[in-house]
């Protein structure tokens, strides 16, 4: 790594991939499309890795084989020499900032992104929209890296909207299916609602601070330690609303389960590992504001905890393998929000990282299962795949253990850090911790349910010979499985001390004790074990029990399996009234009655005038001539009655001409006289 870090290359390589594959992709051979598509994220990943390496050495050193290496001081800023927007006092630059927080995010985004690109090569092999798929995926990476690297909140918003666009395009990738097209629209619209909050937040920040740059906001906050709550609370609540839209939290989570209509690698990359974590990243990025707004912070924690529990209960009764994982994602994102809400930002980011490993793996493994069964997603029609898909089974097992929070898998460390941080936050924190613990139990339960239903028992699939996926799909599974096992070993202490310059909370944090932490983590593991045991009993040993339980509690079961009727409630409370207002008030009253009436009135006046005037247009030559003569006579009469003789002449000649003529005549006569 030399003098400049070339952050812009990290962005533009995927963008170049998008342009190439998007414009020429359908004409290029498939092999070349693959190379372009996979090389772009790989190159970005290598750039990020080299920047990471350069930031970790203290001074200029030289390594064998790569020449002199200059240390990279974080945060490293790259700004285009000319501004993007200059409006009065407000100036917005194209600036990219690489600090510890964006470094971690970049490693995840480009790393997991690259792995999933490789997986997609196998998964999408037979799809006619191969090049289109990869161009969208590269476009997503471009916007995601822009979002992560943005040095001001407006540039971040560009990336934010961009990933929303890529998400929309990829959810509706199989747009021939109505359900996919509708899911894309739903995701887009629900995200728009959240973005409305985000935008209001941006405007408020602009009004309060007069700048959108993260570093300038940090400076302003540092020199004004008295700024507290009030407007900051409002700003943070607006930002939270935006984050809730993108990260699928209550009340805006409804788009994520439907987003599973997209190809499975897309669900893994966008709707599990990276894009949906953008809300968490945004809160961590603006945590200086949240630190000063305790009410907003508490709201974040409550939203996170409630969402975590709520989504986990729904996940218990879903039969579509991807939907189980989708609700699980919502639930895990709830954990991250919970961590943000107790100002444990590094724990949130830690969970974000480990979650991106194991959830991407879960999705990819589920994709492998779906691929093997020829598109079957219903858990009730799976079973017995353990021996038939060994690689998928073992990698999935690693992911299941990781998400359930068993020691020493990755999820244990991050979830433990979150629960511990919550427990330390007073009485309310204890409550949050308890909700988190119950959610951990449910998480373990629904994940092992999925595991048993898909891989154990006898096969319930009509397809007799499911085949293991190609190596382009198995390779990513293995890589992610290793990360899901080992990803947490870095430990929260080292992780948070690395992140501290960028994401340490600027508010007093309670301190705990190692023994308390140990007790809490043992409790968490026991709870996870309990979840496993219940799942084992219900879904392996006594398979008739779940149905009996559902029959015994018909109301509860119906409530959960219908996802608490939230979609129906939203439909009745928001969508239907909106449609009714559009149809009756805007459509009938405003459009038909008012606008249509005005148009009708104008047209009526015009045609009435025409009807009167067309009588002149008789087609009779002599009537035209008569009008002409009458007109001429009227002009003559008018001039006779109103004008002096002088006015006459002015009317027919120019005054000067008259004067000249008169002059010439006089001189002429004068000469004749001589």
């Amino acid at each position: 790594m030399n003098e400049s870090t070339h952050l812009w290359l990290i962005l533009l390589l995927p963008f170049a991939g998008f342009l190439l594959n998007g414009i020429l992709g359908s004409r290029l051979p498939r092999r070349l499309v693959t190379v372009i598509a996979v090389l772009a994220p790989l190159a970005s990943f290598v750039l990020v890795l080299s920047a990471f390496a350069a930031s970790n050495i203290s001074a200029a050193t030289s390594c064998p084989g790569c020449g002199p290496v200059t240390a990279l001081a974080l945060p490293s800023v790259e700004t285009l020499p000319y501004p993007w927007l200059v409006v009065g006092q407000i100036r917005v630059d194209f600036s990219l900032v690489l600090d510890q927080l964006s470094m971690v995010m970049l490693l995840v985004v480009t790393g997991v992104g690259f792995v999933i690109h490789v997986y997609s090569v196998g998964y999408m092999r037979d799809d006619p929209g191969y090049a289109r798929y990869f161009s969208f995926l590269n476009l997503f990476l471009f916007f995601m890296t822009l979002l992560v690297l943005a040095g001001n909140i407006l540039l971040m918003f560009v990336g934010w909207e961009g990933v929303g666009l890529a998400s929309y395009l990829l959810i509706g990738f199989w747009f021939q299916r109505d359900s996919a097209a509708n899911a894309g629209k739903k995701a887009f619209i629900v995200n728009r609602i959240g973005d409305f909050g985000f935008l209001i937040g941006i405007f408020l920040i602009l009004a309060t601070f007069g700048t959108l740059s993260f570093s300038k906001i940090a400076v302003l906050l540092a020199i004004n330690p008295a700024w507290h709550a009030s407007v900051l609370t409002v700003i943070c609540l607006c930002l939270l609303f935006g984050a809730a839209g993108k990260s699928a939290q209550l009340p805006l989570y409804v788009w994520l389960p439907d987003a599973m209509e997209g190809p499975t690698p897309v669900s893994a990359l966008i709707h599990a590992a990276t894009m949906v974590t953008a809300g968490v990243y945004m809160i961590a990025r603006t945590h200086l504001l949240f630190d000063r707004a305790p009410i907003a912070l508490a709201t974040v924690a409550i939203v996170g905890a409630v969402t975590a529990l709520f989504a986990a209960t729904i996940a218990l009764a879903q039969n579509d393998i991807k939907r189980v994982l989708a609700y699980s994602t919502i639930s895990q994102l709830g954990y991250m929000f919970l961590a943000c809400g107790v100002a444990a930002y590094s724990a949130a980011i830690f969970h974000l990282v480990t979650h991106s490993f194991f959830k991407a793996l879960l999705f990819l493994a589920a994709g492998s299962v779906i691929h093997a069964l020829g598109g079957e997603q219903d858990l009730r029609k799976m079973g017995g795949l353990r021996t038939k898909l060994p690689v998928t089974f073992w990698t999935m097992t690693a992911a299941v253990f990781a998400i359930a929070g068993f020691f020493p898998f990755a999820g244990f460390f991050s979830k433990d850090a979150i629960l511990y941080a919550a427990f330390l936050q007073g009485t309310g924190g204890k409550l949050l911790w308890f909700v988190g613990l119950v959610t951990a139990l449910l998480t373990s339960l629904y994940m092992f349910r999925l595991w048993y239903l898909a891989f154990f028992g006898e096969s319930r699939s009509p397809k007799t010979h499911p085949h293991e996926s190609p190596w382009s799909m198995r390779g990513p599974l293995v890589i992610l499985a290793i990360l899901s096992v080992c990803g947490g070993w870095i430990g929260i202490e080292r992780f948070s001390s690395y992140l501290a310059p960028a994401a340490a909370a600027h508010r007093p944090m309670p301190t705990g004790s190692p023994s308390l932490e140990f007790i809490l983590s043992v409790a968490a593991v026991l709870v996870a074990l309990e979840g496993w045991l219940i799942a084992d009993k219900y879904y392996r040993r006594k398979r008739e029990r779940p149905a009996q339980l559902a029959a015994a509690l018909p109301t509860g079961y119906k409530l959960i399996s219908n996802k608490y009727y939230v979609d129906e409630i939203y439909g009745a409370a928001i969508v239907k009234p909106l449609l009714a207002i559009s149809k009756y008030v805007l459509g009938w009253v405003v459009d038909t009655a008012i606008l249509g009436g005005i148009a009708w009135l104008l047209a009526g006046v015009a045609s009435l005038t025409g009807m009167i005037l067309q009588r002149w247009q008789s087609g009779n030559l002599r009537s035209y001539a008569a009008w002409l003569a009458a007109g001429a006579a009227a002009v003559l009469l008018f001039l006779l009655l109103t004008g002096s003789p002088h006015a006459w002449s002015i009317s027919f000649f120019h005054a000067e001409t008259i004067y000249k003529v008169h002059h010439i005549t006089v001189t002429h006569i004068g000469q004749a006289g001589h």
């Binding site: 247009q617 087609g619 030559l621 002599r622 001539a625 008569a626």
Partner: protein
Amino acid sequence: MSFLQHDVPLSWYLLLSAVLFSLGVIGFLIKRNLITVFMSIELMLNAVNLSFVAFAYQWHEVRGQIFVFFVMMVAAAEAAVGLAIIIAVFRARATLAVDRIDLMKL
């Protein structure tokens, strides 16, 4: 020359011109035959010509006479085109009655 200038005043010429013009207008309005209407137009043009010439002589101004030449030229061209149109109309409609030629009516 001198008798024109001294014995017949300008107003007489103008009066003659006005009478001829009015005859043209009346002929245009009341005659039904297209050719008669056409001739009425020629009469109006020549009435105007007469007043042009009279004024030109009165004011010793050559522009009035130039105008007359222009009017004659335009009238000649108009006669050629107009008569051609009249022939075409007659061939198409087998009539020259102005009242019948009303295809432009809405």
